[in-house]
C-alpha cells in the first residue's frame, strides 16, 4: 500500500567515513527536555554533522483552531510553551481582542503584565537552572526552584491551576484577583532578587561553568537574523530587538526597563542575557504592583464576556447572552490579524484569518523555538559532543512549542 520514498534521516543515507559514528541524542534523552531527536555524526568526540528530527509531540493545534471557538482555543495555547503558560494565553487573547477592537479595563492589563513578567522569570529560571544541571551543577537549580514554586503558588491561587492556567478570557480575566495578591507578589520580588544574585555568584561566575560555556555554540548577528532568531537568543548575539520596546503592546511603553544585549551569541551570553532579563522583569513587576488600580476584572461587554452566573438565573437578557456565548461563541468580524508578543523565548505570533464565524478560518502560530532551533546543526558542527548538550539547553527548546 505504502512505499517509503525517503529515508527518515538524510544522515543515514550518507556513507559514513571510516571510524565515524551516528549517535541518537533523544527522542527521550535527559538533556532534550522533551521528545525531540538529534542525530549526530561523530568523529571521536567531535561533531561532524547533525540533524534534528521534530514532530514527536505534534498535536495539530492549527487544525483544531479551525474547529474550536476563540475562547476554547485558549486551552491549546496552554500546551504550547508549557513552562510559561500565561504568556501564550495573553498572546492569543490580545490577538482576538485586537480583532474585535475592544478595550479592557486598566486593572486587567496590569494583572496580565504582572503575570507575564512573572512567567518570563519562571521560564528563565528553568532555562538557566537546567543548563546548570546538564553541565553537572545541581545546586544552582535548587536555589532558584524554590522561588519558582512561589510563583506557581500565586498562579494557583489566581487561576486554580498550576501548569495549564487558561488564564485570560476575551474581554478580561477568568476571575478577579484574590485579596492577598499584592502582598504575595511583593514577597516573591523580595525573595527572588537576592536568589538571582546568589545564583549568579554560585553558577554563572563559576570558573568551570565559564570554561564550559564561553564561546561555545555561538552565532553571529547576521546569521541569527537570517535564521529568524528572536528573544533572548537573538539579543545574546548582539541585536537589541524586543517587541516590548519596538512595538509596545499593553502598557510596556509606560514602564521603565532596559534590554540586555550580549556579544557573540554563545551559551554564556545567552545565560547572562537571561539573568539580566529576570532582574528587568522584576523591575517591571515592582512598578506595576505599586500602582495596581482597582475595578472590574473584565470589560462590560455582555455579548463577548460571559455574564455573572447569579444574574443569569434571574434576568432574561443575561440568560440569552449566556446561551449565545456558550452555544455559538464569539463572532469575530471578517478580517485578518497578526499579533506578535514577546514571549519568554522570543516573538510569539498569532496569525488569525476570520471569516466571521464562531471559529477562525485559519490559525497560525509563529513559535520562536521553531525558527531558531533549525540552526542547531550549524551551531554544533565542529564542537564536542558535550557542548551540544550545553548549546541545546541554553537555546531553551521547548518541544511543545516546537511542534505545536
Amino acid at each position: 500500500m505504502y512505499e517509503k520514498t525517503a529515508e527518515h534521516f538524510s544522515l543515514k543515507q550518507k556513507k559514513l567515513p571510516e571510524g565515524h559514528l551516528l549517535v541518537n541524542l533523544g527522542p527521550s534523552h535527559p538533556s532534550t527536555h522533551g521528545i525531540l531527536q538529534n542525530v549526530i555524526q561523530l568523529d571521536g568526540e567531535r561533531v561532524v554533522d547533525a540533524e534534528s528530527v521534530i514532530g514527536y509531540v505534534h498535536r495539530s493545534f492549527e487544525k483544531l483552531g479551525e474547529r474550536y471557538t476563540y475562547n476554547q482555543f485558549l486551552v491549546c495555547t496552554d500546551r504550547m510553551n508549557y513552562v510559561s503558560t500565561p504568556l501564550n494565553n495573553i498572546g492569543w487573547i490580545l490577538a482576538v481582542e485586537k480583532m474585535l477592537q475592544i478595550e479592557v479595563p486598566d486593572k486587567v492589563t496590569y494583572v496580565r503584565m504582572i503575570v507575564s513578567e512573572l512567567s518570563r522569570v519562571m521560564d528563565h529560571i528553568i532555562c538557566n537552572g537546567i543548563l546548570g544541571v546538564d553541565l553537572g551543577a545541581f545546586s544552582g537549580m535548587l536555589h532558584l526552584f524554590h522561588h519558582r514554586e512561589n510563583i506557581y503558588q500565586v498562579l494557583e491561587k489566581l487561576t486554580g491551576a498550576r501548569l495549564t492556567t487558561t488564564f485570560c478570557r476575551v474581554g478580561g480575566l477568568e476571575k478577579d484577583i484574590y485579596p492577598e495578591f499584592e502582598k504575595d507578589v511583593k514577597t516573591i520580588i523580595k525573595g527572588l532578587r537576592p536568589a538571582i544574585e546568589e545564583f549568579q555568584s554560585l553558577l554563572v561566575n563559576n570558573r568551570i561553568f565559564m570554561d564550559r560555556t564561553e564561546g561555545v555554540g555561538g552565532i553571529s548577528a547576521e546569521d541569527a537574523i537570517s535564521y529568524g532568531y528572536s528573544g533572548p537568543n537573538l539579543r545574546a548575539a548582539g541585536v537589541p530587538w524586543d517587541i516590548r520596546k519596538d512595538d509596545p503592546y499593553m502598557f510596556y511603553d509606560k514602564v521603565d526597563f532596559d534590554i540586555p544585549v550580549g556579544e557573540d551569541g554563545s551559551v554564556l551570553h545567552r545565560t547572562l542575557v537571561r539573568m539580566e532579563e529576570m532582574r528587568q522583569s522584576l523591575r517591571i513587576v515592582e512598578q506595576l504592583i505599586n500602582g495596581l488600580p482597582t475595578g472590574a476584572h473584565h470589560a462590560d461587554i455582555p455579548h463577548i464576556y460571559l455574564p455573572d452566573k447569579s444574574k443569569v438565573y434571574k434576568n432574561m437578557e443575561e440568560l440569552i447572552y449566556h446561551f449565545k456565548l456558550i452555544m455559538h461563541g464569539i463572532k469575530v468580524p471578517k478580517g485578518e490579524y497578526y499579533m506578535a508578543t514577546e514571549a519568554a523565548n522570543g516573538e510569539l505570533g498569532f496569525y488569525i484569518v476570520s471569516e466571521g464565524e464562531k471559529s477562525p478560518w485559519r490559525v497560525h502560530v509563529r513559535r520562536p523555538c521553531f525558527w531558531f532551533y533549525q540552526s542547531f546543526p550549524e551551531l554544533v558542527k565542529g564542537s564536542l559532543l558535550a557542548d551540544t548538550v550545553a548549546t541545546m539547553s541554553s537555546m531553551n527548546v521547548i518541544a511543545g512549542e516546537l511542534d505545536c
Binding site: M1, A6, G55, D223, I225, Y227, G335, Y338, Y351, R366
Partner: protein
C-alpha cells in the same frame, strides 16, 4: 512604508505584481506572481530605505470553496532597522503549482517551507530537502487542507508500516 514598497514594486517589478485585492488586515499586503517571489524578496532585502531583512513568518492559507486559486502562501517580513513595520507578501497558487524556495535569501526559510509542504502539500522548487517535517514519513495526505477531515482517515496503516519498517531495520542491522 506601504507607499515606498508599492512604488518600488511598480518601478522595478511591474510584471511580478499579480493583483490588487483589498483585504481587511493590519498588515500592508502585496500580491505577487509565484515566479517572482524570490527575485522580489532578495531585491527588497537590500533596497535602501526598505531593507526587509528579517523573515518573520512563512505560512499558507487554504481557501477551498472561497477563492480561486485555492492556496495562498504568505511571507511576513520585517525590517531590522525599523522592526515594528511588518509587511506581508502573498502568492496565490493552484493545487499543483510550485513556488521557488527562498532558502538562499533567508536561511530560516528551511523548516517553515518544509512545514507548509507537509501540512498543505505545496511544493517549493529548489529546496534542498522537500520532505515531511512534522508528520511521520509514511503519513498520507496533508492535514491542514480544508478537505482533510478533522478526525483524520484513521491511522491503522501508520502503525502497520512503522512495525514493518522497524522489523526490517532490526533484521538488516
Amino acid at each position: 512604508m506601504k507607499e515606498t514598497i508599492q512604488s518600488f514594486l511598480k518601478d522595478k517589478f511591474p510584471h511580478f505584481i499579480s493583483k490588487e485585492e483589498e483585504i481587511l488586515t493590519n498588515l500592508p499586503t502585496f500580491f505577487l506572481k509565484p515566479e517572482g517571489i524570490a527575485t522580489v524578496l532578495s531585491a527588497l532585502k537590500t533596497a535602501p530605505g526598505i531593507e526587509l531583512n528579517y523573515l518573520n513568518d512563512l505560512t499558507a492559507i487554504d481557501w477551498l470553496g472561497k477563492k480561486t486559486p485555492r492556496f495562498e502562501v504568505c511571507y511576513l517580513l520585517r525590517s531590522g532597522n525599523k522592526s515594528s513595520t511588518r509587511v506581508q507578501f502573498r502568492v496565490a497558487l493552484e493545487e499543483d503549482e510550485q513556488v521557488p524556495s527562498i532558502i538562499s535569501i533567508f536561511k530560516g526559510a528551511n523548516w517553515p517551507e518544509r512545514e507548509v509542504y507537509d501540512l498543505f502539500g505545496i511544493r517549493f522548487a529548489g529546496h534542498p530537502r522537500m520532505d515531511r517535517l512534522i508528520m511521520p514519513d509514511n503519513f498520507q495526505g496533508h492535514p491542514l487542507r480544508k478537505d482533510y477531515p478533522l478526525e483524520g482517515f484513521g491511522q491503522d496503516y501508520l502503525v502497520e508500516d512503522l512495525l514493518t519498517i522497524h522489523l526490517k531495520e532490526d533484521m538488516e542491522a
